[in-house]
Symmetry: C2
Subunit: 482 residues, 2 copies
């Protein structure tokens, strides 16, 4: 499809309130065209390389969901919602509790994001799998589907989510929306709607229902409510598909209408990002997997500090001070000087650098309450300073170390491990999976689960994977008020 003419995006002054809204007539039928593609595409239309990346996304997501299963955030969410669960068809991955599919979608969205260790579409900072895979697997336990169909729906959902994200990013994100929540609900609706075979009309309604539920504020970062966003996006997206299936109608122009999602939540609406090259340009294939359990903007710093640690060995204890030069966004998002909890530690480039230098750690273990308050860590942390430099790329960092003896060392990281330039290998994804999952369900169940996850496309029923994920957790589960 050719790029849309600029006239499609012309703005007019609307009403008396200084709100600029695109006029009706000039905008293409974005929702309708996107829905045609979603409903028509077959698994065999998706290139092998794209399906391979989709599988990596799925494996990484399962590991993160199991890895986060016993976080306090999850315990509290479960305590609140268990009394309201319907027929317990679906698994909370890595835990003994089962819930109805809508609530399981919520919980798996929380568990997979709570350690900030999941996946990232780097163009938009969307964490794609949480909203989409959480909705789809919970649904697959209620309405059986094959691994092939599951993977097709997962890839389609993520494609939709990232394209809608592209169309409004960065203005939408800068305004304050947590784009994983707001774009995620469309991805979850698309994937689950595809899986249950919605008609095109129903799918358009599902998009209207998703648009009107798109929410999630960046203000919540650093609290339990951050991981609530992908969970709620999964649940709301599935709800959208189920309502549409029951012919609950809605706008058929949820994305592009004058008072639809894109206009109301962003000052940028580039619909060519949604409609151009559908089926040939694959945003879902650009997914990346976090090597470190925190916001993506800290990753270059952790990578660089781990490299420095490997180079200087014992001299780590002889560091006098450290200075970071980063893009302004890094300090805006992760500039907490004195974090007090593990969650706050994820939003402190200072803590992250100290933990990487002193412990070589960037895994969830680097972001526990204990680690954040360790005197050794806080001592070094307080000797780290940082400068925001707009000339520095968001994905780069320069780390200047001064030792007690006055000597200096400088390390520049152009692109961190885990980025698209330095992607995790399948073996690194395995190692990340095993490290997380073994702590929760034991090593044996972890290896069985990992093998089943890579074997997704051969499964006749994906629900099997959810069952395996529970492993030995029955005996490890904490009381959750249920």
């Amino acid at each position: 499809m050719a790029a849309l003419p600029a006239a499609c995006f012309k703005k007019v002054k609307y009403m008396s309130s200084n709100v600029e809204i695109a006029t009706n007539a000039e905008v293409p039928n974005v929702t309708s065209q996107l829905v045609d593609w979603i409903v028509d595409i077959k698994g065999s239309d998706i290139p092998t390389e794209v399906r391979k990346e989709g599988l990596r996304t799925f494996v990484n997501w399962i590991g993160c969901a199991v890895g986060g299963a016993h976080h306090e955030t999850v315990d509290r969410a479960l305590a609140a919602v268990m009394p309201f669960s319907g027929t317990a068809t679906s698994t909370v991955l890595g835990r003994p509790e089962r819930l109805d599919a809508l609530h399981a979608a919520l919980l798996n969205g929380i568990t997979s994001h709570v350690l900030d260790y999941d996946d990232t579409h780097l163009k938009t900072i969307i964490h794609p799998a949480g909203p989409v895979a959480s909705a789809l697997l919970a649904l697959a336990e209620l309405r059986p589907m094959s691994g092939k169909d599951f993977l097709t729906a997962l890839i389609v959902g993520i494609e939709v989510e990232c394209r809608i994200g592209n169309s409004v990013y960065p203005n939408h994100y800068d305004r304050g929306w947590h784009i994983t929540g707001t774009a995620g609900v469309f991805g979850a609706a698309a994937a689950t709607g595809k899986a249950i075979g919605l008609s095109k009309q129903q799918m358009r309604w599902a998009f209207g229902l998703a648009a009107t539920q798109a929410s999630g504020l960046r203000e919540m970062f650093g609290t339990m409510t951050k991981s609530f966003h992908p969970g709620r996006a999964a649940q709301n997206g599935l709800m959208s598909a189920l309502l549409a299936e029951a012919n609950f109608d809605s706008s058929e122009r949820g994305i592009e209408a004058p008072r639809g999602f894109a206009n109301v939540t962003s000052t940028k609406q580039d619909y060519s990002e949604i409609l151009d090259d559908l089926g040939t340009r694959w945003e879902s294939a650009l997914n990346s997997y976090k090597p470190f359990a925190c916001g993506i903007v800290i990753h270059p710093t952790i990578d660089g500090c781990q490299q420095i640690r490997a180079e200087i060995g014992d001299r780590v204890s002889a560091i006098k001070s450290i200075h970071l030069t980063t893009h302004p966004l890094v300090l805006e998002l992760t500039g907490k000087k004195t974090p007090r909890t593990g969650l706050e530690g994820k939003f402190s480039v200072y803590h992250s650098a100290a933990a990487a230098l002193l412990k070589g750690d960037g895994a969830p273990t680097a972001f526990t309450d204990e680690m954040v308050n360790l005197p050794e860590i806080t001592g070094l942390r307080d000797r780290i300073t940082a400068t925001a430099d707009p000339e520095c790329h968001e994905a780069s960092v320069t780390i200047d170390v001064t030792f007690e003896d006055g000597s200096r060392l400088s390390k520049h990281v152009e692109r961190a491990i885990g980025s698209k330039d330095v992607p995790l290998t399948n073996e690194q994804i395995d190692a990340k999976f095993i490290t997380q999952s073994a702590l929760v369900i034991g090593e044996e169940a972890t290896r069985e689960l990992l093998a089943a996850a890579w074997n997704l496309e051969a499964l006749s029923s994906v629900a099997d994977i959810a069952g395996i994920s529970v492993g030995q957790s029955q005996t490890k589960a904490k009381a959750t008020g249920s």
Copy 2:
């Protein structure tokens, strides 16, 4: 409390994206101060006149919820969610189906709004009771509460909802947000959080959770998804309170933070509307009750047309043409020239005028698919024209009638029946209640329900009212997929 200094609302350029965001330091602790008031206030602190208006709000809401109970919108929503309901503690008013409290909150929010016949806070066009009462009554069936405590929580929730609405209206609404959904979730969280005795910290978290779920687009008007908004606001607000009760934490500055609700969803943030005169100025006492089952902006036209019909009698059939002069908003919201369904008819000032002139009708019966397509109605409808005049007040209209013989008649309505200037009497609320409810649960149950509703403050358990609302509907209920 004195008005906040203008400096509190100073704006600064933020980041590189042209998004203006208020800075942190200059903004008062809006959420915290509001929460202090919510948690501390006692029922006896609320003036008698305010409690009286709260009771009228409750009675009107019950009638609307029962009245809308068998709408197709409700049937379809129930078909979708019934398979996911948890323990059926709570009533769908006017229907035999029972659901868990969260889903019952959703359904009662839909039923009470689906006929566009509910209540209106005219300053903001919020329909206050739907989100708040729906959440609170569903909760009261799970956790018993007295009528007095219920009324206190209801009034507090509506007060919060309307004040938050005031703080961002009209910019927020003009941008495209359905304010009943976006402000409603705060009201539902406040009311249910008050009822279950959240601590101040928990209530601040509940407000963070509400803020991050605030959603609902005006694009959905004219579809089933419009009434989904107050329903989802009720459900999400209750969910926010329940999560906070389980110590699921969140931002404690959900309303006013730089990337909190007010800044992200509006270009206006007047926090004095939220904080000034708490406990002395009562927005909840400004509630009004719709005499007609459609958008409030059409009410002056229907009122005027009914008056003309009363004055001219048989000469209605001799009308050649009609011209309306209205505020621009009336045509923007309700300018559909040729509606084809009952729902679309609610967004057509032309249909509404024709039905009022020919049938004297503005009740739900005026907005059925059949009525909208009646040749007699469409014939007159197509001879009605309208002009938008910015000089005309939103709540006024001028109706110019030309008869076949060339004679003319002009009617100006300054304020319509149902507005705060011409409020419905208790007897008119009774009549509206009976007309709606008797069709659904029969006259006997209706009279019992009406009496119980007015008797709210004497009830030891409000759940009784929900039980009475089911009446004879068991035998009238349609299949809903359950």
